[in-house]
């Protein structure tokens, strides 16, 4: 080491080196300060941003679905409830061999092909550590069997959730409706809706699809709660951070008397028919029947193809709510209203008589508008014409009134307009006018069309609900109340019962108040009169009531031919109508009945209407809901 090279200069080398080390030390300091600056930027300046990101990473917000409100009838009978339902679910991460496990499970729990395909589909869409349902609605038996074997199945669990259940089955289905699983279409509708907040449905399985369940969806659904949960990178649950409880849906109390509803549905049997019963002074719907009915429970967890097809393709069309969507020619049930129009416009006096030879002919025309009675009724005043349902009287009256006055008068009773009942899907019927015909058919109105409108044929259409509302309005002497199925909405959290007040939609004031009595008198004679078309049904009746028969032609009868109900297939037979109310003053119930292809109104529909009146007025004491204990 001591031997020095000629040019090696340790002092100079040391100096250069020291120089370089100090420069390197300074550079190092600068770089370390860069790190400090970077950390300061991330941890102090952008702290909030990264804190949010970190929270978004770890916090999952899980919805707590609310319990759907219950539905009770006016007497507190439970119509729609929520029942615990078990589903069998797999957590794929915890199952060693999925196929083998399913095979083992299927030894004591039925797993159908459709369950498997649904399972496979959901398996692909799920997030990690999310359980995938294999079977819904396990029977009590299956639950018991699986519970015993549970220890053998790692990652398979029974999940308990609330499922809508309609304990009365098909009874009242067309009014109550049903809920079903939320579909893609529902989601789209929710997005477009201003009323329904889609985020409130995060954890919900069901949404009202029809009837009250759909109309009162917002009230029934309740408010979804939130559970803030900490999860790891795989979505695995770690701990609950925060919780906001859900607010259960409000309960509905109905005006419907479910016993009356049930009675009517049983009464109608196999018929395709509709019955609407209304309390005239309030518009409260006591019963809304459409037959055939169907079991709403089928739809709750998704109806299988076979059942759906058998309902949808049935010629009886049970899925159609005839009470609000069935539009039929009202037939002779309109005569009372046309008669009233005659009085109001001064075209007829109560006692002015018309000669009925069995047909009516417009001046200068050959066409004969036939009366249902071949020989004619002879001399008819308003009372007799309603009692006996004389067609010729009303042909002539309609002609004298003209379509414009007829249209404007009938419209005041709600014909041609939706009643605004609180279930969706209602149809408005049709009250034709010149303007309508020009618009719809591009053709002028012909006088002959006015003539047949006078007996509720031709273009005119009405739903059973409209007929019930118009009849109730008549019994009210002009007070038109909007029909309502729901009586009260019960907020179980605030313990507040909000009653739905009846809505006065229209008040018909006639020039003379006693015009009402003339027409109602005629309707009374329909059942109580010596020649009344439905006199048979009122025999030995302990109370007095008013009614009107009607027959809606399904097929036109060619000139010169006769209608013979026994000679034609049932689906070509006339629809039978009957409207009625009782008692005569301050009516407590107004009812409309239609039996499709039932033939004549007096024979088929009138006895049903009378049975409804009897049941309601004699068997059910008039109940005042407000006095009921709603905890029932």
């Amino acid at each position: 080491m001591l031997s020095t090279h000629v040019i090696k200069n340790p002092t100079r080398e040391g100096k250069i080196f020291n120089n370089r080390v100090i420069i390197a030390w300074l550079m190092m300091l600068v770089f370390l300060l860069v790190i400090v600056a970077r950390l300061f930027f991330l941890q102090v300046i952008n702290y909030e941003e990264y804190k949010t990101k970190s929270n978004e990473n770890r916090i999952t917000i899980l919805p707590i679905p609310p319990t759907r409100g219950l539905i009770f009838d006016r007497n507190g009978v439970l119509i729609a409830e929520n029942r615990a339902s078990y589903s069998l679910e797999l957590i794929p991460e915890q199952v060693e061999n999925i196929d083998f496990t399913i095979q083992k499970i299927s030894k004591f729990i039925t797993i159908e092909e459709s369950d498997l395909s649904n399972f496979q589909k959901k398996l692909k869409q799920r997030r990690s550590f999310q359980s995938v349902p294999l079977r819904y609605r396990l029977t009590d038996d299956e639950v018991a069997r699986f519970s015993v074997q549970k220890h053998r199945f790692q990652g398979v669990e029974l999940k308990n959730h609330l499922s809508r259940y309609y304990p009365l089955g098909a009874i009242g289905v067309h009014a109550i409706g049903y809920v079903g699983r939320i579909s893609k279409k529902d989601e789209k509708l929710m997005e477009e809706s201003n009323e329904i907040d889609k985020s409130n449905y995060e954890g919900s399985k069901y949404i009202g699809k029809a009837g009250l369940e759909a109309y009162y969806e917002i009230e029934l659904h309740g408010k979804t709660g939130i559970r803030k949960v900490e999860t790891d990178v795989r979505g695995k649950f770690v701990q609950v951070l925060d919780r906001t409880d859900s607010v259960p849906g409000k309960n509905l109390y109905l005006n419907i008397d479910i016993d009356l509803q049930k009675y009517i549905e049983e009464l109608l049997g196999e018929e395709r028919a509709a019955v609407v019963a209304i309390e005239p002074e309030s518009g409260n719907v006591l019963a809304l029947v459409s037959m055939p009915n169907y079991d709403p429970n089928l739809f709750v967890n998704g109806i299988d193809h076979k059942s759906y097809n058998s309902l949808n393709l049935s010629p009886d069309r049970p899925l159609i709510n005839r009470a609000i969507r069935g539009q039929y020619p009202p037939g002779s049930t309109v005569k009372a209203f046309v008669g009233l129009a005659g009085l109001e416009y001064g075209v007829r006096t109560p006692h002015k008589r018309t000669w009925c030879p069995g047909f009516y002919r417009l001046k200068g025309k050959k066409h004969r508008y036939r009366d249902w009675k071949r020989g004619g009724h002879g001399s008819m005043d308003l009372h007799g014409a309603i009692e006996q349902s004389c067609d010729v009287y009303f042909y002539e009256l309609a002609h004298d009134l003209g379509i414009d006055r007829l249209h404007s008068f009938m419209t005041r009773f709600g014909f041609g307009k939706k009643t605004g009942i609180d279930i969706p899907g209602e149809k408005g019927g049709l009250m034709p006018s010149r303007e309508w015909k020009q618009r719809r058919h591009g053709v002028v109105w012909y006088p002959g069309e006015t003539v047949i409108t006078g007996i509720g044929q031709g273009f005119m259409l009405a739903t059973p609900l409209q007929m019930a509302v118009a009849t109730a309005t008549l019994s009210n002497r002009g007070q038109l109340k909007q029909p309502r199925i729901v009586f009260a909405i019960d907020d179980v959290i605030l313990n507040e019962m909000a009653t739905v007040t009846p809505t006065q939609k229209n008040t018909i004031i006639l020039k003379r108040g006693n015009y009402w009595e003339h027409v109602i008198g005629g309707m009374k004679a329909v059942v109580h009169g010596r020649r009344g078309t439905a006199r048979r049904v009122a025999k030995n009746s302990p109370y007095r009531f008013a009614g009107k028969t009607g027959t809606a032609q399904v097929r036109g009868i060619p000139q010169g031919q006769r209608y013979d109900p026994n000679n034609i297939p049932k689906e070509h037979r006339d629809h039978a109508w009957f409207v009625a109310f009782a008692p005569l003053d301050r009516a407590r119930i107004a009812v409309s009945v239609i039996v499709e292809n039932g033939g004549g109104g007096s024979k088929t529909a009138a006895p049903i209407a009378k049975a409804v009146l009897d049941y309601y007025l004699l068997k059910r004491s008039p109940l005042v809901l407000a006095n009921n204990d709603r905890s029932q």
């Binding site: 080491m1 090279h5 040019i7 090696k8 200069n9 340790p10 080398e13 040391g14 250069i16 080196f17 020291n18 120089n19 370089r20 080390v21 390197a24 030390w25 190092m28 300091l29 770089f31 370390l32 860069v34 790190i35 400090v36 970077r38 950390l39 300061f40 991330l42 941890q43 102090v44 952008n46 702290y47 941003e49 990264y50 804190k51 990101k53 970190s54 929270n55 990473n57 770890r58 900490e230 999860t231 790891d232 990178v233 795989r234 770690v238």
Partner: protein, 362 residues
């Protein structure tokens, strides 16, 4: 004579440096305990790594570095041979061919390269002539290419810098240094298009825009920045780092442990850590300044600067300033290989300091 407690060393160990390393490895175990979700097995294994590392350091500190000089070229050549063998018959793990019979020959080169360059340059007067400089550069480039080919960008980078630090400390002219930097800047374009692998390009591109591939290459950087940033000024607290406990942060026990540290201990903790590192680095440089001959000072200087490169590259990469290259955080990241290599380096540095010969002793 060396076991004088009043002096700064005993058993040829430098006490200040030893203190710094103890502090660092203790802190490392504390962070690792959290990063490993309180897995004590892992802590025990890391303690074994540390024991081996410290043992090796103590052993190497006993050897006078100048005594190694005759061995240097042979170790270097043997290392090159092993690197060639790795490329021919090495094991492939995670897509790169780095292993030969269970160890990484590139680790040897972490000393072999700076020692070789030091040996070669220190032989003749400094600063070196251009001719010697050229040969020295070749000594660096050959292992660099062999390692980059594996590919192991992190190690290649560390080895290249250890060699270059020798050149820099040897006193090559600044004009030359800046000239080379300019040249490298100009060659960036062809390197980008012909040398870099797609995944390496991806890492660099993702660095500038992590959202480019949020679930792939960008995921590491996004999660790491989120962890650091959400730690804030004083951190979420030890064992409370949600990014790490809930496993959003990948590689949290190894290369990204700095993110766990910053998340749980915040900027305050980071400053403490940087303080310890700064202390070790300064002490290392002081030792280099105190060295008596060119071989000792160049070796100590380049090893301590390489240690700094570890720290800077790791922190810069974890905080999103540099692309993700596999460089661990010295003495904090879990893992035996890099730890043992680093501790060996400190053994050499200590030896440089504690085997000095004073005039009075001669």
């Amino acid at each position: 004579m060396q076991t004088n407690w009043n002096n700064n060393h005993f058993l040829h160990l430098d006490k200040p440096l030893l203190l710094g390393l103890f502090l660092l490895s203790g802190l490392g175990l504390v962070v690792l305990y959290s990063a490993a979700n309180q897995n004590t097995d892992l802590i025990i294994r890391q303690m074994i790594h540390l024991a081996i590392g410290f043992g090796l350091m103590i052993a190497l500190a006993q050897i006078r570095v100048q005594a190694l000089i005759p061995w240097v070229p042979w170790v270097y050549l043997g290392g090159i041979l092993l690197l060639v063998l790795v490329l021919l018959i090495g094991e492939t793990r995670n897509g790169s061919q780095r292993w030969l019979f269970g160890f990484q020959p590139s680790e040897i080169m972490k000393f072999a390269v700076p020692m070789m360059v030091t040996w070669y340059l220190a032989e003749k007067p400094l600063p070196p002539s251009y001719g010697r400089l050229f040969l020295a550069a070749i000594m660096i480039v050959i292992p660099l290419l062999l390692i980059a080919k594996q590919p192991d960008l992190g190690t290649a980078l560390l080895i290249a810098s250890s060699g270059l630090f020798v050149l820099l400390l040897a006193g090559i002219s600044w004009y030359f240094v800046f000239g080379v930097i300019t040249l490298l800047g100009l060659s960036a374009y062809p390197i980008w298009h012909s040398v870099l692998h797609d995944y390496q390009k991806g890492r660099i591109l993702t660095l500038f825009d992590p959202e480019r591939d949020p679930l792939g290459a960008g995921y590491h950087i996004i999660q790491s920045k989120t962890a650091i940033g959400s730690g804030g000024f004083d951190g979420k607290g030890w064992l409370n780092g949600t990014q790490s406990i809930l496993e959003f942060l990948p590689e949290r026990k190894t290369d990204f442990i700095f993110a766990v540290y910053s998340e749980e201990l915040g900027l305050v903790g980071v400053l403490v850590l940087l303080g310890i590192y700064f202390f070790i680095l300064s002490r290392g440089m002081y030792i280099a300044l105190q060295a008596q001959d060119s071989f000792g000072r160049l070796l100590a200087g380049s090893l301590i600067l390489t240690f700094f490169v570890y720290i800077f590259v790791n922190m810069a990469m974890v905080s999103g300033l540099l692309p993700v290259v596999g460089v661990p955080l010295p003495l904090i990241s879990y893992g035996g290989t890099s730890l043992v290599t680093l501790m060996a380096g400190f053994g050499f540095i200590m030896a440089v300091h504690t085997h000095r010969r004073f005039l009075s002793e001669r």
